[in-house]
């Protein structure tokens, strides 16, 4: 076995090669294609910004804006729901809290297709699980929100909730109980404790949770197909259409670059500030 500095470099090599071939190179290729003349399939054309111009002129900013806005709303809703949940789970010990934590984590490992499919079965009109049960038990007939943006948003929140919750629990573990008690003792109200103590101390967790949620929802497309009935074209869907049906790689690549730019603009500055070693040690 090797030691010290060389060992680190050798051990990092496989991961580095994987990320180079599977992450850096594809992204660079996408960037290169985005600069090729429209509807070409090679990389030998003269570089041009025509695709970016086309992306805006032909209204492709709309899917991008919708995806970004949807991701933002999803993040906010998830934060609002996950904060009280994380507080309950982190302040309480015992079998109920442990069981609940495991039960909330499990769905992460169940396919999105299964979970979104389940949600659509639940919301289905007429013979759906909810509508059918209400009709059979109470004779109440209800409509459905299926195939609307609201249903898609519900799916977004449902899928991404655990990704916000667990970083928040981690964040709250950085808030010593005594600091909260000291603040209360010094006259802080519940809201003041949240603003002055809990939020600043849990900030690394909140940041990671919000980032994960935003980035994952930014690219999400299954929610809109299964629940939203394509009520809106999300950006990933738009890219896919450019790549496959329209056979316009450069325009698809330009749209992909735009999504990557949004992602990078959000992720890089915040990721730079977080103390990873300290956080994992928790």
């Amino acid at each position: 076995m090797l030691h010290g500095k060389r060992a680190g470099r050798v051990a990092a090599l496989p991961v580095a090669l994987l990320l180079l071939a599977g992450f850096a190179v594809p992204i660079l290729l996408v960037v290169a294609y985005s600069l090729m003349p429209p509807r070409t399939f090679g990389l030998d054309g003269d570089p041009t910004f025509a695709n970016y111009l086309a992306a805006f002129r032909e209204g492709y900013w709309r899917p991008l804006a919708w995806s970004a806005g949807g991701a933002l709303v999803t993040t906010l809703v998830c934060l609002l729901l996950a904060w009280p949940t994380a507080k309950v789970l982190s302040r309480r010990a015992g079998p109920l809290a442990t069981t609940a934590t495991i039960l909330i984590a499990l769905p992460i490992f169940i396919s999105e297709s299964v979970r979104l499919f389940g949600l659509s079965l639940f919301l289905m009109p007429g013979g759906g699980i909810l509508a059918g049960t209400l009709d059979a038990l109470f004779g109440v007939e209800i409509g459905t929100i299926l195939n609307t943006r609201l249903a898609a948003l519900l799916g977004y929140v449902y899928i991404h909730f655990p990704f916000v919750l667990f970083p928040l629990i981690l964040g709250l573990s950085l808030v010593p109980r005594e600091q909260v008690e000291a603040a209360r003792d010094l006259g802080a109200s519940g809201w003041q404790v949240f603003r002055e103590i809990e939020l600043p101390l849990a900030a690394p967790g909140v940041t990671i949770g919000a980032l994960l949620c935003f980035v994952l929802s930014l690219g999400a497309n299954a929610e809109m197909s299964i629940l939203g009935g394509q009520a809106v074209t999300v950006v990933t869907r738009a890219i896919e259409q450019r790549f496959s049906y329209a056979q316009d790689w450069p325009l698809g690549a330009a749209l992909t670059v735009l999504v990557i730019v949004v992602t990078a603009a959000v992720v890089l500055p915040l990721l730079k500030r977080i103390d990873l070693d300290g956080l994992i040690r928790q």
Partner: protein, 345 residues
């Protein structure tokens, strides 16, 4: 419980307070009155319920039964942030994401005091605890242990509490610094004139600082009194043991069991004898044959471990009197009953 202590009216009255956690009784029918301006200390081993008592007084726990009155106003049900009391925590609980100034100003900020006025008051409190004003902008994480202690005191004082509570704030500090801070704490008490309620597991610490002391055991107050009263007249073996090394003998029908000596008119119970009250003499109320096992030099005094039958008895003599007594020597040792404390429990 006898609580008469001078003429000052009580600022804090605790009446029949009890608290259980599951099967354990943390506080068991505690009643106590603390007069305005007193430095009162509750001493007890860990698990005696002293921290719970303090947390109830601060409003961080709710008692099962009983009342807590501040100048006659019932505090039970008043949340911690609405009580005119303030606590200095064992961990100090300084806000690590804030500067010294922000910590000290915290309570004023919560009340909506404008920044300029807050700052002025914070600087005044820093002076009061003898921290330079330049510390105002320093991060608390850059302060030494003793400085953090002072910041915590300044923060508590800045909330202008009617009573300050202290939850063993000196327990994690090394011996020398602790001695300095004990004196500072007592001085601060005198300068501010506030009522201090302090808890600790160290009777020694309590003796240095307090006007009165309560000894707590298994959720009950077993003795309340001035340091001198507790030192000279411990109410039970438990209290006596708390004072460090003492000899405790069993008395059965006027006979001191361990020494096989006559107790001259003592009833059944126990006899507490301090090491410094033992002398190498046969001319005392109680005397016995002993063999010197070991001697330990304690600076101005020397401690001897005496073997009496199977029992080890501890004696301490001043330097001059200790000369010539060597391990292995045998002789007669004794004490006067006037120096000993007879206890029933």
């Amino acid at each position: 419980m006898a609580d008469a202590s001078g003429g000052a009216p009580p600022i804090l009255s605790i009446i029949g307070l009890s608290k259980r956690f599951g099967d354990t009784t943390a506080i068991d029918d505690v009643s106590l009155e603390i007069p305005e301006g007193e430095f009162f200390t509750v001493v007890g081993p860990s698990g005696s319920g002293k921290s719970t008592l303090l947390r109830i007084l601060a409003g961080l726990e709710t008692p099962d039964t009983g009342r807590v009155e501040l100048r006659g106003r019932d505090l039970v049900g008043v949340p911690a942030n609405a009580r005119p009391t303030c606590m200095v925590f064992q961990s100090l609980a300084l806000f690590r994401h804030m500067t010294v100034g922000q910590n000290v100003e915290f309570s004023q900020k919560m009340r909506g005091v404008p920044p300029a006025a807050r700052r002025e008051q914070a600087l005044e409190k820093l002076r009061l605890v003898r921290l330079p004003e330049s510390y105002y902008d320093r991060r608390v994480t850059q302060c030494s242990g003793g400085e953090q202690q002072r910041v915590a005191l300044a923060r508590a004082l800045a909330s202008d509490p009617e009573i300050l509570f202290f939850d063993e704030p000196l327990s994690a500090i090394d011996f020398r610094l602790r001695k300095i801070l004990e004196v500072e704490m007592k001085e601060l008490h005198r300068r501010t004139g506030k009522t201090f309620l302090y808890i600790t597991h160290s009777l020694e610490e309590a003796m240095v600082m307090s006007d009165r002391i309560a000894i707590m055991r298994d959720g009950r107050l077993v003795q309340v009194g001035t340091p001198a009263a507790i030192y000279h007249r411990p109410a039970s073996r438990f209290v006596a043991q708390f004072m460090g090394e003492v000899n405790i003998f069993t008395v059965d029908g006027g006979r001191i069991e361990e020494l096989a000596a006559d107790g001259k008119g003592l009833g059944d119970g126990y006899l507490v004898v301090r090491p410094e009250n033992l002398r190498p003499t046969g001319d005392a109320d109680v005397s016995f044959d002993a063999r010197v096992e070991n001697d330990f030099m304690l600076g101005s005094r020397t401690q001897f471990h005496l073997k009496v039958g199977e029992t080890v008895v501890i004696a301490e003599l001043p330097g001059t009197a200790a000369q010539g007594i060597a391990p292995g020597s045998t002789g007669r040792w004794g004490f006067d009953l006037g120096d000993a404390v007879a206890l029933e429990d």
